[in-house]
């Protein structure tokens, strides 16, 4: 098995080679002004996503990103909301952004479906509560899960302000129609969530949801690189994140 450092090295190199080959990236120290501890001495990526809600709303019934994720990650199909496992899903605008109370008067916005997923927070509340370090934040910002170490105490679910974590209340393998051999299935009794497709990034691929979106509503890239797509959009457009007042610093941004 690869150790974490080696894994990161390969991930970093391969993605750098394929996606950002022609440009020299300079880390912008002002990016995470609030978290002074987040200043590694060497260059490190910060994966981030920008979700364009207008582009997403063009096809209200589209579930391409969700289905792509479900297939790639062997996500069980438990129909009821009680036991449901979900990594990326849609929720009404006002549920995703309860503090945007000013928006309720815009009918078309109020019920706008918003795609939500793990925010891969810069200060992840789930990571600090885990009693076994089964969830941790990588240097590139991805909040990871070790399904083999998790004891299933669900403290991380109580701690996540975004409802991004799911627990396997039953054996998820019983609820899989097809199995992707390239990604592990899970056992019952462990927590899981979106991993920003780290298993695809390492092969130089975009996350499955980003690749599946025909409207280009999901943009993924390196927040630490000044000329990355995500940085360019965030520079030009008014953007927002979910529950910014909690200080978790989500790395999934929204534009409208």
């Amino acid at each position: 098995m690869l150790d974490r450092r080696k894994f990161l090295k390969i991930a970093g190199l391969s993605v750098a080679g394929i996606m950002l080959a022609p440009t020299l990236n300079i880390r912008d120290e002002t990016l995470f002004a609030n978290s002074s501890k987040q200043k590694p001495k060497h260059y490190s990526r910060k994966w981030a996503m920008v979700i364009n809600l207008e582009a997403c709303a063009k096809k209200p019934d589209c579930r391409d990103c969700i289905e792509a994720c479900n297939i790639v990650h062997n996500i069980p199909d438990l129909s009821g909301p009680k036991e449901e496992v979900k990594w990326i899903w849609q929720t009404p605008y006002i549920a995703a952004f309860p503090e945007h109370i000013n928006m309720v008067n815009r009918e078309e916005v109020k019920n706008l479906p918003v795609t939500v997923l793990c925010n891969h927070c810069e200060n992840p509340p789930c990571v600090k509560v885990c009693p076994t370090k089964a969830t941790w934040k990588r240097e590139d910002g991805i909040v990871m899960m070790d399904y083999h170490r998790c004891i299933g105490c669900r403290y991380c679910m109580a701690a996540c302000p975004y409802g991004a974590r799911s627990f396997n209340w039953f054996d998820p393998r019983l609820f899989l129609k097809t199995v992707n051999r390239g990604f592990p299935t899970r056992t019952r009794g462990v927590v899981e969530k979106c991993n920003f497709c780290e298993e695809r990034l390492v092969r130089g691929l975009m996350p499955a949801c980003v690749e599946a979106c025909k409207e280009n509503a999901l943009v993924f890239g390196d927040l630490a690189a000044i000329d990355s797509d995500v940085r360019k959009i965030l520079k030009q457009r008014h953007s927002f994140v979910r529950k910014p007042h909690l200080g978790a610093e989500p790395k999934v941004f929204y534009i409208l």
Partner: protein
């Protein structure tokens, strides 16, 4: 000393068999839960902690409350409690065993529980809770047992035991404080995010635990003739009265801030808890029962005339236990998950298996308590007669 647990009348053995049967039934349900997963409980994606963690929280309080008899006896030399400090310590032992079991049955992968030790995570409050609870268990078991042993041999307590007793006093405070921190440190749950949570936990613990202790004193007196003494019981009742008044005061203080400031994310949970939403009562009837019983028992215990009546005292103790069980269980743990971070209002109803597993743990707790008290009473009666 252990042999004393084996000499009992017919009633004693019937009680032991009954508890054994309840424990067995709970174990059967637990095997089912192991086989199929926690999906057989009423918990779900939104309300992800339920009856198990509610009971865990309540019994941490019961365990901590032993300090209410230990502290006056050892620090203030209040002799009247001398007869019952061991009861308090043994009640703490059985309560801590229950809390550990409640955490254990709540785990999705119980076989990996030792990962908490293999990968120690000092940033996690659960890690600290595990440490303080286990140390507290050992402290009380050693102190209780040694105290009893010294009493049996009519010897003074060894000096090192006194040191452990002194240590156990702040330790009792710590177990409930750390347990409150599990909740009150979560930015995701505005309902729990209040510095008042730990003080509230302690106040309610010092009302509910000693209430159980008073009931135990009455039961032991009835069954074995061992009398803890009226003065001791009345003193505990006073402690309960003031702890309950402080608990009610803390609740009102919380309610004031929540509803006067009216910050939606804070007030919504409280509104749901006390009034339900759009015609759905949700947990609110339970909460009002808890509030009513809490006030009633506080009044009955503060008033000396009613407090001195044994029947009323017993009724008030039962009322306090029910009131605080509802407040800490449904009112605190479950309500923290409603609404969910995405504003969903979910219903939580424990399933039969979940209730059976919970009952099984009560069975184990009562079994441990019965055996320990049986030994303690036998030793004390022997020491009294010699």
């Amino acid at each position: 000393m252990t042999g004393k647990a084996l000499t009992g009348g017919k009633k004693y053995w019937m009680w032991i068999i009954l508890l054994g049967a309840v424990t067995l039934a709970g174990s059967a349900s637990y095997l089912l839960q192991l086989k199929f997963g926690l999906g057989i409980t009423g918990m779900g994606r939104n309300v992800s902690w339920g009856l198990y963690i509610s009971n865990f929280t309540f019994f941490v309080g019961v365990a901590a409350s032993a300090v209410m008899v230990v502290l006056p006896y050892y620090l203030h030399n209040y002799k009247q409690f001398g007869k019952i400090t061991v009861f308090g310590e043994f009640l703490a032992v059985s309560a801590v065993i229950m809390t550990i079991l409640f955490i254990f049955v709540d785990l999705g992968q119980p076989s990996r529980v030792l990962n908490i030790l293999r990968y120690p995570s000092p940033k996690s409050i659960l890690f600290w809770d595990m440490i303080v609870l286990n140390v507290y268990l050992i402290l009380n078991l050693v102190i209780g047992w040694q105290t009893l042993n010294a009493e049996r041999k009519s010897e003074p307590q060894p000096k090192w035991i006194k040191l452990l007793v002194i240590l156990s006093i702040p330790w009792a405070i710590s177990i409930h404080t750390v347990t409150a921190f599990i909740y009150s440190g979560l930015e995701a749950r505005p309902f729990w995010l209040t510095a008042l949570l730990a003080p509230r936990f302690l106040a309610s613990a010092f009302a509910s635990g000693p209430s159980i202790l008073i009931l135990l004193c009455f039961i032991v007196k009835r069954l074995s003739g061992f009398d803890a003494g009226r003065e001791a019981v009345q003193k505990i009742a006073q402690i309960i009265a003031y702890a309950m008044v402080i608990n009610i005061f803390f609740f009102l203080v919380e309610i004031f801030t929540v509803f006067y400031s009216n910050v939606p994310e804070h007030s919504l949970s409280f509104h749901l808890l006390l009034f339900g939403i759009s015609g759905r009562l949700m947990l609110s009837p339970w909460m009002w029962i808890s509030i009513f019983l809490g006030w009633l028992s506080a009044i009955l215990l503060v008033n000396p005339q009613t407090r001195k009546n044994d029947t009323i005292l017993m009724a008030a103790c039962i009322a306090i236990i029910v009131s605080i069980w509802i407040e800490k269980g449904l009112g605190l743990v479950v309500s923290g998950f409603i609404p969910s971070p995405l504003g969903e209002i979910s219903k939580y109803v424990p399933t039969t298996h979940e209730i059976a597993i919970t009952a099984g743990i009560y069975g184990i707790g009562l079994l441990v308590l019965t055996i320990l008290l049986k030994i303690a009473v036998a030793v004390k009666k022997e020491a009294d007669s010699s």
